[in-house]
């Protein structure tokens, strides 16, 4: 590192008038965390603020297959979702509940670490989520136990995400407040939209198809 460049840029910024002005007050009058969002009619919603229905509607819009059930139904839901995607070889990260991992026809634990070729040969990966944002249909992963390192959800073509009720938040500010910015995060919200703006290609080049299970109770 060149200390001269650092010193000079900082000097330029002070010459330019930075560091001499008063603190700018930020008006935070928008909808912050914990404030209920405006009612959005979700398909099949039974009441305003039915976040699981709103989330499921958004995920379906993105082309994901969504299934609902109780936590005790999880193994059966997983097995059905994997069958529907014709997925046999399924990556199961450390920390995923053993009975969920066992629902895969051929579970591949990431221990010892799977190499790239093994990941590329896998059909799917199962993870939990840190939070899911109903308003935007976003799944946020922090890659802690149950979600695995970032490569696991990147290489296989199908991502099966298990979302429990208490992980669903209303909107973006709730998610920002709920996650730890010091650990790597991946926010996933459907497929590419730049393409049809451009009159050109369909979906993004590097995306994997998503399937989700929402678990109540």
């Amino acid at each position: 590192m060149s200390p001269t460049a650092r010193v000079e840029i900082l000097r330029r910024l002070r010459d330019a008038g930075a560091a001499r002005s008063a603190m700018v007050a930020v008006p935070r009058e928008y909808r912050g965390p914990g404030v209920p969002p405006p009612h959005e009619p979700a398909r099949g919603a039974r009441e305003p603020g039915d976040l699981p229905r709103l989330l499921a509607g958004r995920l379906t819009d993105y082309g994901a297959m969504v299934r609902h059930g109780r936590v005790t139904d999880a193994p059966a839901l997983i097995a059905r979702a994997l069958r529907a995607s014709a997925a046999r070889h399924v990556v199961v990260p450390d920390g995923l509940p053993a009975e969920w991992a066992a629902a895969a026809p051929d579970p591949l634990p990431d221990r010892p670490r799977l190499d790239i070729a093994e990941l590329a040969a896998a059909d799917a990966v199962i993870t939990t989520v840190t939070v899911a944002i109903a308003q935007t249909g976003t799944l946020v992963l922090d890659h802690r136990p149950g979600q695995g390192r970032r490569e696991l959800t990147l290489v296989p073509d199908v991502h099966l995400a298990l979302v429990t009720r208490e992980r669903i938040v209303a909107a973006v500010p709730d998610a920002v407040a709920a996650v730890d910015p010091l650990v790597p995060l991946t926010w996933i919200s459907g497929s590419s939209a730049t393409s049809d703006i451009e009159t050109g290609p369909g979906s993004g080049c590097a995306r994997s198809a998503a399937a989700g299970c929402h678990l109540a109770g």
Binding site: L13, R14, A18, A19, V26, R28, L154, P181, I188, A193
Partner: protein, 481 residues
């Protein structure tokens, strides 16, 4: 303003100066009918979608006000926030580098890539690395840079330059893209059609190998959080995730104005940016990380390149609030007709017309502040409320003052304007001038506009008609009542 004005982005490096001034480049672009059709379709589509995405949030005006204020606070204490960012990134195992200009940034990245033993690097679409023309600098050192964003890949394969901030190949349609792939991709299926899905699949298989073998990735950053050292990359295709995650070395180049004070500020920008740029509730993929992750080496390059000079101007510094959403391009009647290349800069459209001349100094881009009708649509859509029309007018005055400083004789326009000012200051002079103007009626047939003025005045009528002066002025009419 105190002290001396910091240096502008240097000449001879980067993509901030075009080969031709805007009027000449625009005239060329306007003759390309295919380009105009592609642009009209694309900008119209995204404009409509964006309106829906924004209308869905009732608190959009409040988010916009917060976004503007957060950025103003950053600019007011930029040195403090950069130092805090450096402390946090370093504390989490990253290495921070400072680059005064494009040359220095290119040298740093080239050296880091060479030290990692790379002959090929994969790239995430980034405005900062386009601004410094990093790919060319790497190529000169024998390192090839592979663009992994689909549109950026199209532009790269075509040996072309991007023409839009968000959709760099907006000037191409899918048949043209198919032809580029057939010509430039070594192992492409010769029977490739122009079906969008087939084109995406061709690019996917072309890129997949690159992702898995590259030793070094280079990215930009949409935001960097000073408080935590968290870097944020917002993208659509997932190629960014690949680059940020797979290679053992990651180098991120970001403009110094991309820092934000706190993690909480992301609750504002993660709503403003996707809805304003791609018209989505949320962009498909967002990656965040602080420092080195899972043993990956992480380098952060902080780029000035004319930003501190922009900061030094209190009337122009708000251009540094820009979060590169490109909404102003899509609503601009001038951009929609000329496309991005006419602006001669990596930053086209209304934001480019105010940002580029400040990064280079107005002397090097004197025509850009005039590349606008001042209709104000850009200000209306800007998610951080940059008053682009007011800034354009201000920069026009800087161009005029700059021309006056450099010339021994005033320009014809300046002479005419100061003559007009003198005439309008005296009542008699003005009355006389209005009567004399009637003579101008001789230059056109009754009822027709004047299409060509004589002598040096012809410059005025080169691009516009002049209405034929009325037989009697308002003052004459009023005086006789």
């Amino acid at each position: 303003m105190t002290g001396s004005v910091p240096p502008y982005a240097p000449r001879g490096a980067g993509y901030l100066r075009g080969e031709a001034p805007f009027p000449a480049a625009a005239q060329r672009a306007l003759t390309d009918g295919q380009l105009r059709r592609n642009l009209r379709y694309a900008t119209r589509t995204i404009r409509e979608k964006r309106e829906h995405a924004v209308a869905e949030l009732p608190d959009w005006p409040q988010l916009r006000a917060a976004g503007a204020a957060i950025k103003d606070e950053v600019l007011a204490h930029l040195d403090d926030y950069l130092l805090e960012l450096e402390r946090q990134v370093t504390a989490h195992g990253g290495v921070v580098h400072w680059a005064r200009d494009a040359h220095e940034a290119n040298q740093i990245v080239t050296r880091l890539a060479a030290e990692a033993g790379a002959t090929e690097v994969v790239k995430v679409k980034s405005m900062a690395t386009q601004e410094i023309r990093l790919n060319e600098a790497l190529a000169a050192a024998g390192i090839s840079a592979v663009e992994t964003d689909l549109a950026e890949l199209i532009v790269q394969l075509d040996h072309d330059s991007p023409s839009h901030i968000l959709v760099p190949a907006i000037h191409r349609n899918r048949t043209e893209i198919r032809d580029i792939f057939l010509r430039e991709m070594p192992d492409v299926d010769p029977a490739l059609t122009d079906d969008p899905v087939a084109l995406a699949e061709a690019a996917r298989s072309h890129l997949r190998r690159k992702f898995l073998t590259a030793r070094v990735a280079v990215s930009g950053a949409n935001f960097a959080v000073a408080e935590t050292g968290t870097l944020v990359v917002v993208e659509s295709e997932g190629n960014g995730r690949m680059c940020l995650t797979m290679p053992p070395v990651l180098i991120t180049v970001m403009g110094i104005e991309k820092v934000v004070p706190t993690w909480r500020d992301m609750e504002v920008f993660l709503q403003l940016l996707p809805r304003s740029s791609t018209a989505e509730r949320m962009n498909p993929y967002t990656s965040t990380w602080a420092g080195s992750v899972d043993g990956q080496a992480f380098h952060l390059v902080l780029l000035d390149n004319g930003r501190s000079a922009t900061l030094a101007d209190p009337h122009g510094r708000a251009a540094l609030r820009c979060i590169r959403c490109s909404a102003c391009l899509n609503v601009c009647p001038v951009y929609e007709r000329t496309g991005g290349h006419a602006y001669g800069s990596v930053y086209p459209g209304p934001i480019g017309a105010v940002l580029t001349p400040q990064l280079t100094g107005v002397a090097d881009q004197p025509t850009l502040p005039f590349a606008s009708t001042l209709c104000g649509a850009c200000y209306d859509v800007c998610p951080v409320a940059i008053d682009i029309p007011a800034m354009l007018v201000y920069l026009r005055s800087r161009v005029t003052a700059d021309e006056a400083d450099r010339r021994w004789l005033p320009t014809a326009e300046a002479a005419a304007m100061s003559g007009l000012a003198w005439t309008m200051r005296g009542r008699r002079r003005w009355t006389w001038a209005l009567r004399a103007a009637r003579l101008g009626g001789l230059l056109a047939r009754p009822g027709k506009p004047i299409t060509r003025l004589p002598g040096p005045l012809s410059a005025w009528t080169a691009f516009r008609d002049l209405p034929r002066p009325p037989r009697r002025s308002f003052r004459d009419w009023w005086g006789r009542r």
